[in-house]
């Protein structure tokens, strides 16, 4: 990253009518980038991946019509209670928020609009508490190059009954068009809501996706986050999904990682407050020659904080999947609980998988446990199903479904669960 590119960045963002603090933040991020290291994914080598293709920001708009096929297949019939936001590339093409929620102060909007209209809400939260720009080269790259985003704000004590649905569609009808996206979720004290995101790609160009989610959960709030990741085969993805939970706050993650392309990612919840809790569930399926390296972590700082990680991965073809479950219990977090279970199912002899529990415990008064396994399809199960006339392919699909079932059945949103099952079935059918 050379210093010469700096003025260019500043110039392009000035034209985008961004507040001065945001431009300063970008500039600081750009300045510190050369001194930082790439993020680490244990037992996974991605050093030859191009994760920072450009240091020039190109503002381009995308057509709403690109979202259509995605929305037709994934959203239920629109009703007037629906809360949703759709983004194609850098363009927000649709926002739906019932008026009564607007009156209560709930915000679901484009992040850049929010910077201009609600700087007092955005500025203190954007890459300050939850993810910091100076963590790695890629976090600073993200800040410097950010070109799309969603802001969700739920005020103190407000419970939103419908899930907030976001569709983020990468526009790969264009070349040299990275998706650098940021979902900022601010849950004020005592608020409660669910946020669901659907990630997909239109077009055939090879582009990166650099997607961050920050959840800042104030005391006694409850945020249920789910995500269905289904970027295309030519997309190289890096994601950060991080939560910060204050006293008795609760952040739950339910993630289905079904990207067709190479992916690295990090999910982590910082249980800062006393009695803060997180439940992190993830399913990943890799196929073809795709490689995926994922860290899923919980940091227990608060006394009596509780973190659970439950992950299942299925490997097809010649793919690679690495699950690192990272449990970090900080000194002073007495009474903390940390449990994790990481299991991989190998459907092919040519696939490579690792499930690594990593426990870092610096406190005596804790309960911590882990389980990990890498295994093949149970032949007894296959034989049993086939002895009832079910053919091998379908029997395999049922066994895989069963393997994923413990996570699937724990996903709260029925529509997400169904969509996940449909996508999984499609991937398994394609494979055969």
């Amino acid at each position: 990253m050379s210093q010469e590119t700096m003025p260019l960045v500043a110039d392009t963002v000035t034209k985008h009518d961004e507040p001065a603090w945001m431009i300063d933040k970008r500039r600081a991020a750009m300045d510190q980038m050369p001194t930082l290291k790439m993020p680490r994914v244990q037992r996974f080598d991605y050093r030859y991946w191009q994760m920072m293709p450009s240091t020039e920001i190109h503002w381009q708009s995308s057509s709403a019509s690109l979202a259509q096929s995605d929305l037709d297949t994934t959203t239920a019939k629109a009703d007037d209670q629906q809360i949703s936001i759709v983004q194609v590339g850098q363009t927000t093409t649709q926002v739906k928020l019932p008026a009564e929620l607007g009156q209560q102060g709930v915000l679901v909007m484009d992040l850049f609009d929010a910077m201009r209209e609600y700087p007092e809400l955005v500025k203190p939260h954007l890459m300050t508490n939850v993810i910091k720009t100076n963590e790695t080269k890629l976090t600073s790259y993200h800040m410097a190059m950010l070109t799309s985003g969603i802001f969700v704000y739920v005020p103190r004590g407000v419970a939103v009954n419908q899930p907030i649905e976001a569709h983020i569609i990468q526009d790969s009808t264009k070349t040299d068009h990275p998706l650098i996206s940021h979902v900022l979720i601010v849950a004020e004290a005592g608020s409660e809501f669910a946020f669901t995101q659907h990630l997909s790609t239109v077009g055939e160009a090879a582009n990166i996706a650099n997607c961050f989610v920050e959840i800042d959960a104030a005391e006694d709030s409850r945020v249920r986050f789910s995500s269905l990741d289904a970027f295309g085969p030519k997309t190289v993805t890096y994601f950060e999904r991080r939560g910060l939970a204050a006293n008795h706050a609760n952040i739950d993650w339910a993630v289905g990682l079904l990207n067709d392309g190479n992916t690295i990612g990090n999910i982590d919840t910082n249980l800062l407050g006393e009695g803060a809790e997180t439940d992190s569930k993830m399913i990943a399926i890799t196929d073809g020659t795709a490689r995926m390296g994922i860290n899923n972590g919980v940091t227990n700082r608060g006394k009596h904080s509780v973190g659970n990680i439950l992950q299942r991965g299925v490997l097809l073809g010649r793919s690679q999947l690495v699950f690192n479950g990272i449990g970090d219990i900080i000194h002073g977090a007495s009474g903390a609980k940390a449990e994790q279970e990481n299991r991989l199912l190998m459907m092919s002899n040519e696939a490579r998988g690792n499930a690594n529990p990593i426990l870092l415990i610096d406190e005596n008064d804790v309960l911590a446990g882990h389980a990990a396994s890498v295994g093949q399809v149970d032949q007894q199960q296959l034989y049993y199903l086939m002895s009832r006339g079910i053919d091998r392919q379908q029997a395999q699909r049922l066994v895989i479904r069963g393997f994923l079932g413990v996570v699937l059945s724990a996903i709260p949103a029925k529509t997400v669960r169904q969509e996940l099952i449909t996508t999984i079935e499609r991937k398994l059918t394609d494979e055969n």
Binding site: D378, Q380, Q381, Y383, Y384, L385, M386, S387, R388, G389, I390, D391, R392, Q394, A395, L398, V399, R401, G402, F403, L404, G405, V406, L408, S409
Partner: protein, 264 residues
């Protein structure tokens, strides 16, 4: 009418640990038709389960000689699922547990596997049939929504095997030690299920080492198996005789050169 014939069947298995190959079946002959209930009795370790698993097509069992014919056609080259679709059913001694797949979903998949793609069973007729059979077997209504065999007690698993039998309606059912571990009430329920299938289009081969089950499911033919062969075939009274005299008595009466596993 369907027929199932086992001709001079020799079967080997390889020991998982030592790798040693052992011949278990040493020339089994058996012939049955739909409309008949056969029972195979015999001491432990004599090859009864090997016979049923080999007929079903479990890949661990290698046929070295002889043949198995369904309606006159050899099934030895058919995979397990095809044998099932052609009318064979094995109620297993140790059914697998499959979490994440509900009983109902599994049963529908099994029924539909036998039907053409454009004639799959309707939800209504499936549920009607299911309710009828749950009722017959005195099974809990929550059973269909539970995951397949997961956390089932021994008795629940056995009933679930019979439920599948009633739903799938095969031509031939092989019932492998379906009575083991059942109390008398459960045994009666299982027998009721099998008896409800009796008719011209159904045949069963009941494997057991106690005569008890045969009080409830009356066999037309009883075979006694020892040392990897069928050594005696007779009517229902043969089972009673065995109960009285034991396998050792029968062996001595016929002068058979067979080691009994449980004999000291």
């Amino acid at each position: 009418m369907s027929t199932l014939e086992v001709k001079d069947l020799h079967v080997e298995v390889q020991d998982g640990e030592s790798g040693a190959v052992k011949e278990i079946l040493k020339g089994v002959n058996l012939s049955m038709s739909t409309g008949e209930i056969h029972a195979i009795m015999g001491p432990n370790g004599t090859g009864k389960s090997t016979l049923s698993e080999t007929i079903m097509g479990q890949s661990a069992y290698h046929v070295t000689q002889g043949d198995i014919l369904l309606d006159g056609n050899s099934i030895l080259d058919m995979p397990v699922d095809e044998r099932a679709r052609r009318g064979l059913f094995l109620a297993m001694q140790y059914p697998a547990e499959i979490p994440g797949v509900t009983n109902a979903e599994f049963l529908r998949a099994a029924i539909n596997a036998r039907r053409p793609k454009d004639d799959q069973i309707s939800v209504m007729s499936f549920l009607k049939e299911l309710d009828k059979n749950l009722d017959l077997l005195d099974m809990n209504e929550a059973m269909p929504e539970r995951y397949l065999n997961e956390g089932f007690s021994g008795g629940e698993k056995k009933r679930n095997e019979i439920l599948q039998l009633l739903m799938i309606k095969p031509a031939f059912a092989l019932l492998d030690e379906i009575d083991s571990g059942l109390d008398i009430d459960a045994l009666q329920v299982v027998a009721k299920g099998v008896n409800s299938m009796r008719g011209d289009n159904f045949g069963a081969l009941i494997i057991t080492h106690y005569q008890r089950l045969l009080n409830y499911i009356k066999p037309d033919v009883v075979h006694v198996m020892m040392g990897g062969r069928i050594v005696k075939t007779g009517g229902a009274d043969l089972a009673l005789k065995l109960e009285d005299e034991g396998y050792a008595g029968l062996r001595d009466e016929f002068g058979l050169d067979v080691d009994l596993v449980d004999e000291n």
